[in-house]
């Protein structure tokens, strides 16, 4: 939750990539074209209305009050009222419309990025840290969300307001406009410096919030150790220092605001003074009217407030741009284990053949070398061997979680790489070691294996492996919510859910990674029975960690240093006097002692 470690320098974006990001975002906005056109019109109208107010005051003064024309004054007042009401309605519409476009865009982006994450294959997940992947969908999308909700509309309309104000002011009186430009260089220089400093301060605040929070978290979850070693004082001091550096970072950021805001305000009021002074002198020469001066005085806020708004929002816009850049980068990540064009469905069942397969993970060293293996339909094959020998890798290749570097693997005669991914996942299921649970009910957790499975189907799957009873003992039965990764369920119960998933998926080929961790004796037997029922009538490849499992298999393959060194029935291998024999002897000795 507090993985803020993965932010920092990447939050800047150069002009070239900014352009690319904008173009691509534009393409993604295409479905919103009509709404976008309307919202641009509304923003323009709204901006015009903000200038119309002061202009009508000028009109009222110059045409009404000065010449004593009450009709003209009333006209100005009436128009002002109309403009104010119009602005009210336009504003309401534009907020909703821009919200709809922005939130819609975010929803599309979330769905697209997640879909792509689902398509990306295991090599990608091996390479990237889970925390970084998750932060794409959380902190990166969140910074876009923040912009959409709090800043985007303001950013666009502030920019527009500045441009339109300059034009209108120049049309009304170019001389006074030129005077307004005098403080401009100061404003620009200050804004650029402010933007740069505040960005740095913002990043440092964010960084220090992160480290304060992680110290806090450690202090709370490690409190028992701290108290056991009587280290409370040291930890309080340590936290106090972290907390203090956060305060300092906050204050630096406040100081930057504290000099910048006065500069802008001073520029605004200084300009007012100039307009009144110089303009006043100009009225005596009849170069400008009193109404024009009033117009300028009232409009100056339209010039300086947006500048201030823009530089405050600029950081938000910048980090949103950087976030978008990273997200597009993720969308561009190629899918390694993908579907070929013209892929066909796997046959419903058939033998598995591993032909001359070698495999290396991205970091080089070959894990499997030239493995040949044929598994008959309905056969149960156990793979044994030391950690790191390559038995899990072999199993993963058979399930096409990876593609072999050399050689090929076929199912029913079809190369797995020529099969559609949907048929592949339907025919082949991998049951991992740990029973990993998602948030939701037990039923939901079984259902992940088959989209749209009915309750009846889920119940049948649980029934098929004989574990329905077990879960109906729980207070809410199968509708029991598994909280926090199933902390309420025992390891064995989680296994059972995992097996029920496989039963629901009803695959022709089952790839099983046997659990190494000990289960509670109560569920152990149940897991054994469920496994037995699940394996019945299917082709099974099991990575065995217990000898009883490999003893029950039709054949056993011993994998060592990337090669299949022995293969045969349990009895044959025990008699053969090779690696498996040694393994078996150890086990028998161990049993005798226990």
């Amino acid at each position: 939750m507090f993985s803020m470690a993965s932010v920092s320098e990447e939050d800047q974006l150069d002009a070239e990539s900014a352009k690319r990001v904008l173009r691509r975002a534009g393409r993604m906005l295409r479905p919103y074209r009509r709404q976008l056109r309307w919202s641009i019109l509304l923003i323009l109208l709204y901006t015009a209305s903000q200038l119309a107010g002061p202009y009508l005051v000028k009109y009222g003064i110059d045409r009404g009050i000065k010449p004593g024309d009450r009709g003209a004054l009333d006209l100005a007042v009436g128009l002002y009222l109309v403009v104010a009401l119009l602005a009210f309605f336009v504003n309401r519409l534009q907020v909703v419309l821009v919200g709809r476009i922005g939130e819609g865009f975010l929803r599309d982006l979330r769905v697209r990025v997640f879909d792509h994450l689902q398509r990306l294959s295991m090599p990608f997940y091996d390479r990237e840290k889970a925390g970084v992947i998750i932060s794409r969908m959380t902190s990166d999308v969140d910074s876009l969300q923040e912009l959409v909700q709090l800043g985007l509309l303001q950013f666009v309309s502030s920019a527009l307001l500045i441009v339109i104000s300059v034009v209108v002011l120049a049309v009304v009186s170019w001389q006074l406009m030129l005077i307004c430009l005098i403080p401009l260089p100061l404003v620009v220089v200050a804004s650029v410096k402010f933007q740069r400093d505040s960005n740095r301060a913002y990043l440092s605040v964010r960084d220090r919030i992160g480290s304060m929070l992680s110290t806090l978290q450690e202090g709370i979850s490690g409190v028992r150790v701290i108290q056991a070693f009587a280290r409370e004082d040291v930890e309080v001091g340590r936290f106090g220092r972290r907390n203090r550096t956060l305060y300092d970072a906050h204050m630096r950021s406040v100081k930057i605001q504290a000099w910048y805001l006065p500069v802008i305000e001073m520029a605004g009021l200084g300009t007012t003074a100039l307009v009144v002074g110089v303009g006043g002198w100009m009225t005596t020469r009849e170069i400008v009217t009193v109404g024009t001066i009033a117009f300028f005085v009232l409009s100056l806020s339209n010039l300086f407030e947006p500048v201030q708004m823009l530089s405050q929002l600029f950081n938000q816009v910048q980090s949103a741009g950087a976030a978008l850049h990273k997200l597009f980068g993720l969308l561009d990540t190629p899918v390694e284990v993908g579907e070929r064009p013209g892929a066909v469905d796997l046959p419903p069942s058939g033998p598995v053949r591993v032909e001359g397969v070698s495999f290396a993970y991205a970091d080089g060293e070959p894990v499997l070398r030239d493995v040949d293996l044929a598994i008959a339909e309905g056969e149960r094959l156990a793979l044994v061997g030391p950690t790191g020998a390559g038995k899990s890798t072999l199993a993963k290749l058979i399930a096409r979680l990876y593609d072999p570097t050399e050689g090929r693997i076929t199912f029913g005669g079809l190369d797995l790489r020529d099969a559609t991914l949907s048929s592949l996942r339907e025919r082949i299921t991998v049951v991992p070691q740990e029973g990993f649970l998602f948030n939701g009910t037990i039923r939901d957790n079984v259902r992940v294996a088959k989209r749209g499975a009915t309750d009846v189907e889920v119940d049948a799957a649980l029934e098929a492996i004989g574990v329905r009873e077990r879960f109906s003992l729980l207070r809410d039965g199968l509708d029991t919510e598994v909280r926090e990764r199933g902390s309420r369920l025992s390891a064995g119960e989680k296994q059972l859910v995992s097996l029920a998933r496989a039963a629901l998926a009803d695959p022709a080929l089952l790839v099983l990674d046997e659990a190494t961790s000990s289960l509670d004796p109560g569920t152990e037997v149940l897991v054994e029975q469920a496994l037995e029922r699940l394996m019945h009538g299917r082709t099974v490849v099991v990575i065995a960690h217990r000898l009883s499992t490999s003893a029950r298999a039709d054949r056993v393959g011993v994998v060592d240093e990337g090669r299949l060194v022995e293969i045969g029935t349990h009895d044959d291998l025990v008699a053969a006097g090779g690696r498996y024999t040694a393994l078996f002897d150890t086990w028998v000795r161990g049993l005798a002692r226990a």
Partner: protein
């Protein structure tokens, strides 16, 4: 329904009192700002009416200069007022957070057993931010309030009716802003909630990617995410719709005031009852009041949230630590670490979420045991027998309900807590290391320990070798941003940490249970080394570990059921055999690295794996 929050208010007021001088400066600075801000439109009025309208060039210059001065003052003080407001607010946030953290460090184990880390985190994070958001508004609001008052007075004195027309709609701004803030807040909380749910789906899908791929669960997860994204869209739009309702209205109201000023005020000028400059000034004043009034509305809503947050913070701060020093602590006499349990009775009391009420479960009932100085004792018992509890009472993590626990003759409740904790070293069942260097983790009990002492502890714990294999050695960072160590390596660092403290009594709470049985012997070797000549309590369930102790104590039903050597108990106690068998069943029948081991300890001749349960040390234990 806001929770009762009077204590929350007290907490805030106490903090404000402590910072009264800083806040006073903030208010004073704000008042100077008000003067600058309020005088500017008045000066424009003078410039127009006394300069421009009459064509007096010198007067124009004079008033223009004064405007510039007023501008300089209000601008400078805009920055200062903000600075001081934030300084005080951030300071109170930091100080309350320090207090909260220090208090949490003092609170007893049973508090932490019940509290959730996430909850405590949000007390120190989001709740204090709410308080900060409120405090920052206080000095700002005071000067804003004075500004509103001053402008009202000026306008009413200029022309009461016009002032009424100009300002009449503005109180509504205040009301609307308050309602806006309190309507918007829940939707923003909902947006955060939905975001968190969506993040939950992403998080579990990415960390469970093996399961997702293995079961072909992609379509199901995709559907779940789509639903979460739709939900998030819905609540975000709700929030947007509320914004669209209130924000434009907040802009419209002052505009209506401006229309009134131009309409009625214009005619007043034509009638010669108002200067043109005053008209412009009226306009500027109405604009000036927009933000202060909005903020006045916001502070009402913000204060309610802050009080509710402060209330939650107060609840933690007002929890009194139970395990505290006695009024006159008795120093522990020098001694070899004799531990005595005298008829100890103990029950955990706590609120169990699923039980729905307070439950008390007696764990120890008349527990008697004397452990001689330097003796090592293994506590064995079934799950829930109370053996871990026995260990936790020695360093006084909890206080006994009846009876006493004595170290070298002194009741642990009569000594200073710190001294008791220093006398007892504990290796927890679950290893907790800090995100710091390995050296700092080992030197946890004594941050000033010499490198040589750290290395000695690491060697004793059998950790020196793998530490040296790391590129930075003892300086290597572990945890979130550093190396991730295996369970066995972490455990050995925890043992080194306990050794460095050099306690009279060492307690090893199932220190090997988290370790792969094939690696257990490494830890065991380390333990055997450490226990020499030190009072040690080992909680264990594997015979090989039990065999390390001089004496075995079978704990059953909260009392000592039998005591003797491993061999004696094995021969005489049926219950002992049952307990061991149940534990062995859990460990048994593993097909570990076996003959083709990766070389990290298990050669073909040294049967690890299944053999570990009854390895050579087990034999030695039998022979004792």
């Amino acid at each position: 329904m806001p929770p009762p929050s009077s204590e929350g208010w007290q907490l805030i007021f106490a903090q404000l009192r402590a910072q009264r001088w800083g806040l006073a400066i903030g208010v004073a600075v704000g008042l100077v700002w008000t003067v600058g801000k309020v005088s500017a439109p008045k000066l424009v009025e003078r410039a127009i009416d006394r300069g421009i309208e009459v064509g007096d060039g010198a007067a124009i210059t004079r008033w223009a200069l004064l405007i510039a001065v007023a501008g300089l003052i209000s601008a400078t003080f805009t920055g200062l007022r903000r600075y001081f407001a934030f300084r005080e607010a951030r300071w109170s946030e930091a100080e309350l957070r320090d207090r909260l953290f220090a208090h949490l460090q003092r609170l007893h184990f049973s508090f932490h057993d019940e509290a959730q880390t996430g909850q405590l985190m949000s007390r120190a994070n989001t709740d204090l931010q709410q308080v900060q958001n409120f405090i920052v508004l206080i000095p700002l609001t005071i000067s804003n309030g004075v500004t509103v008052l001053a402008v009202t007075v000026i306008l009413v004195r200029t022309n009461a009716l016009l002032a009424l027309l100009a300002l009449g709609t503005l109180p509504l701004v205040n009301v609307l802003a308050k309602r806006f803030s309190s309507r918007l807040h829940p939707t923003m909380v909902a947006v955060q909630q939905e975001s968190a749910e969506l993040a939950g789906v992403v998080e579990e899908t990415v960390s469970g990617v093996r399961v997702v791929k293995g079961f072909g669960a992609e379509p199901v997860q995709r559907e779940r995410l789509r639903k979460e994204a739709d939900d998030l869209y819905e609540v975000s739009m709700q929030s947007t719709v509320i914004r669209s309702r209130y924000w434009p209205a907040l802009e419209l109201l002052p505009n209506l005031g401006l229309v009134a000023v131009l309409g009625y005020g214009g005619h007043l000028v034509l009638d010669g009852r108002l200067g043109l400059g005053a008209l412009v000034a009226f306009n500027a004043y109405v604009v000036l009041l927009i933000w202060p009034l909005r903020m006045l509305g916001m502070i009402v809503a913000q204060s309610q949230r802050a009080a509710a947050s402060a209330q939650r913070v107060h609840e933690v701060l007002s929890t009194e630590p139970i395990v505290v020093d006695p009024a006159r602590p008795v120093p522990l006499p020098p001694g070899g670490g004799e531990v005595r349990f005298e008829a100890v009775t103990f029950a955990y009391s706590g609120v169990l979420a699923n039980a729905g009420g307070r439950v008390e479960r007696t764990v120890l009932d008349g527990f008697d045991l004397i452990i001689a100085p330097g003796e090592s004792v293994a506590l064995v018992g079934a799950t829930g027998s109370g053996k871990s509890t026995v260990a936790k009472l020695v360093p006084r993590f909890y206080d006994v309900d009846a009876g006493a626990v004595r170290i070298d003759g002194v009741d642990v409740r009569h000594a200073a807590v710190r001294e008791v904790r220093k006398a007892v070293g504990l290796v927890f069942e679950e290893t907790f290391l800090f995100s710091d260097t390995i050296a700092a983790n080992i030197a946890f009990a004594d941050p000033d320990a010499e490198p040589a002492a750290i290395e000695r502890a690491a060697r004793l714990a059998g950790a020196h070798e793998f530490i040296c294999a790391l590129p930075e050695g003892y300086g290597a960072e572990i945890g979130e941003r550093g190396y991730s160590l295996s369970g066995g390596q972490r455990q050995r660092i925890a043992i080194a940490r306990a050794i460095l403290a050099d306690p009279r009594v060492l307690i090893l709470d199932d220190a090997t249970s988290a370790v792969d049985p094939t690696k257990e012997h490494e830890i065991r070797d380390a333990l055997a080394e450490v226990m020499i000549g030190r009072t040690t309590i080992v909680i264990a369930h594997r015979p090989a570990t039990i065999a390390l102790a001089d004496r075995v104590v079978l704990v059953d039903g909260g009392a000592v059921a039998a005591t003797g050597t491993h061999a004696e108990l094995l021969a005489t106690s049926e219950r002992y055999r049952e307990v061991l068998a149940a534990a062995a069943a859990r460990d048994a029948e593993r097909l570990g690295a076996g003959p083709c081991s990766d070389g990290d300890g298990g050669a073909a001749t040294d049967p690890t794996g299944a053999g570990a349960v009854g390895g050579e040390r087990f034999q030695a234990g039998l022979a004792d």
